[in-house]
Symmetry: C2
Subunit: 411 residues, 2 copies
């Protein structure tokens, strides 16, 4: 048996490390490989031969790894280009040098493209001693074929909880005080994260990239709601755009006196419209920034288990020497005893395709989502994992790519 190598790529999530923990644990319980290595900073670090040995990770570290947000192995934005055969040759040289049989690549769209490209290169060159397996992760929930993407459930739980709590805060003063709150989520192309706020049941206006934004329609809708109840709760995707494709946030991006580009957000742009139109004098804005993809303190247990078991199944399926160029996908069932099933699909069927939020799940007039959408999302936010706390804060594993002297949990 050779080694397996695990790497992570792209924007992290609150549960991305659970897949890593799952592969490590699976190999301890049902060994397939002599050693389990982590590749640091994705393909970028692999090309620099930066590795860490995770084979004998202890039980406590494995548990804490599952609740550690961000990518413990580090991430990269580097993409293997099919037009650069030297890079491919170099990857295979390194895999041979260290006797690495299987590369597990945890990531989103781009990473699945890398998995497909490496498998295609191997097939083309008659290389059969290396396998490439993709494990999905993305808060955006925008991968096709799989019923869910680990990371989305926890982000949805965090977003819906934040919406619920800030909505209660928004409503604390009497009706004589008119106020608006705008929450901005991630989602450059797909509205899943913004839509997840509707799990709270309190969203008055939802703006997603899938529906062209119209300034007048929007302001009229806000006015109607403000007349009804003096408060209005708005949620917007960062990728909200007009019918011509211009981002709503573009109007807020400006060049200042020093020639510097000041980036604004979609929520700031909506706030601006509301203030200009005189709809309300008070309009608070919150951009959930990177907290929405790293809020492990709001992990959904369902999401952690999906992520962990993707790792376990990826490890098990990799026993089959022909299992390469595949991504592990999830089929979800409304069945407590068997809530999920895992299977392999061709990575190239997933790469570079965005699954949008279904238009038929959106209500008219920016009025949020349908019951069907809620029924889809609700199971993904269920359950609260037992979080190990140190000194009042969630314990976490220090990044494996850091100064080795620093590595270890925060105690």
């Amino acid at each position: 048996m050779g080694k397996c190598l695990i790497a992570q790529s792209g924007g992290p999530t609150a549960v991305i490390n659970a897949t890593l923990a799952g592969i490590v644990k699976a190999n301890q319980e049902n060994p397939v490989y002599d050693a389990v290595w982590g590749g640091l900073h994705g393909i970028e670090g692999i090309l620099q031969e930066h590795f860490v040995d995770l084979t004998n990770m202890g039980e406590e570290e494995n548990l804490i790894l599952r609740q550690t947000p961000s990518s413990a192995l580090g991430a990269c934005r580097y993409k293997l280009r099919r037009s650069d055969p030297d890079a491919f040759k170099e990857v295979f040289r390194i895999l041979d040098k260290y006797e690495i049989d299987t590369l597990f690549y945890i990531g989103g769209n781009d990473s699945m493209d890398t998995v497909a490209a490496l498998a295609a290169y191997a097939a083309k060159h008659g290389i059969s001693n290396h396998r490439f397996i993709g494990c999905p992760k993305t808060v955006d929930n925008d991968l096709v074929v799989t019923d869910l993407c680990p990371g989305f459930g926890s982000a949805a739980k965090y977003i819906a909880t934040t919406a619920q709590q800030t909505w209660l805060d928004l409503n604390v003063y009497p009706n004589s005080r008119k106020e608006i709150f705008i929450l901005e989520t991630m989602g450059r192309d797909a509205g899943w994260l913004a839509a997840s706020s509707c799990l709270s049941g309190i969203v008055d206006i939802l703006i997603v990239p899938e529906v062209p934004f119209d300034r007048e329609d929007f302001l009229n809708r806000v006015k109607v709601i403000m007349e009804q109840k003096s408060k209005c709760y708005i949620v917007v995707s960062e990728g909200a755009r007009y019918s011509d494709g211009t981002y709503v946030s573009a109007g807020e991006t400006r060049i200042d006196a020093f020639g510097t580009v000041v980036l604004g957000g979609a929520a700031n742009a909506l706030q601006q419209m509301i203030l200009e139109a005189g709809v309300s004098q008070r309009c608070r804005v919150m951009d959930l920034s990177s907290a929405q993809r790293s809020a492990a303190s709001e992990q959904s247990l369902f999401d952690v288990e999906a992520s962990y078991n993707i790792g376990v199944h990826a490890h098990e399926l990799s026993r089959d020497p022909s299992f390469t160029g595949r991504m592990i996908a999830v089929k979800r069932y409304d069945d407590e005893d068997k809530p999920m099933e895992f299977f392999g699909i061709e990575a190239e069927k997933v790469s570079n395709i965005v699954r949008n939020f279904p238009l038929e799940w959106l209500r008219e007039d920016y009025a949020g989502v349908t019951g069907e959408a809620i029924a889809y999302m609700r199971p993904l936010i269920q359950g609260t994992p037992d979080i190990i706390i140190i000194d009042g804060l969630p314990a976490y594993v220090l990044p494996y790519y850091g100064d080795p002297k620093l590595s270890g949990v925060n105690k």
Copy 2:
């Protein structure tokens, strides 16, 4: 026995309702009053005779009330002015009309002034059948005499957790990618909330209102840190200011083409400085907005218990007919069996005074706080309450001031 009336005022917190729950529960277990009423929207609603009867609140509702953020009775910004004797007369007329013996007023600085003023008015006019008792709450932790203010501990836990998690996210890419993260907290005059982020142990630069801000010193410090490690984590109070008292955020507030004032934050202003100075091309900003005072999903158990027991002790101390014009204060001990003691102090000793973050607890060069500061804050974030979850989200009590048809928990 007459009735007691409870009201809430000012900006809410994640645990403000625990005090309300404590008074209601205490009167069920050790009755002092025939009835426990809630006054809606503070003094403003009391003057309009808007009440709700809470005497027989059920156990489940009481438990859920403790985990409900924001003010379940509603809040107000209305302040009784000593120069307006008619308003005082009206309050006493209403208390007489409904046979209300005691008013418990849950709030911050301004509310303690109201408590002091009402007690002084009663003394001056020989009125002895009404008592006025203040219960402290404020995320700002800026009340004097009391060792802690309920609301701060939970906000501190939320802020430190968010800092820890977004710091892990900030560090995910290799050193070749230079990035800065700026977290903005509340705190117009006191730096407690911003300083609480240091509980995470990851803050590189801390900017609080107590230390005059200097643009050059700040940028130099950022440059040094970026040279050392390519990443920099900054936390700033909204009230950060220059030595002449100008807010750092003032530079970011601008009048747009339509003549509208666009409010900017302190973090946006720092981001602007960093981009202008060319220290980093990437600088992400997060303003914790009202989430930091309403994140009940991150309640600290210590904080909930402090808030709840303030209610219990306020109720018990109110048996004494001479106990009026007082606020319940907390003395904290490093003793597991007796972590807190509660006592009454004159409300006027607290009202209109701000307790700043101690200068001697701040390290030079914006480098965060001392071990003494951490030792003070650490106990306040301890413990995680058992949260009742409904459909994957924390259960909450709908505001008592809402449409009565809607009142009840979210199920």
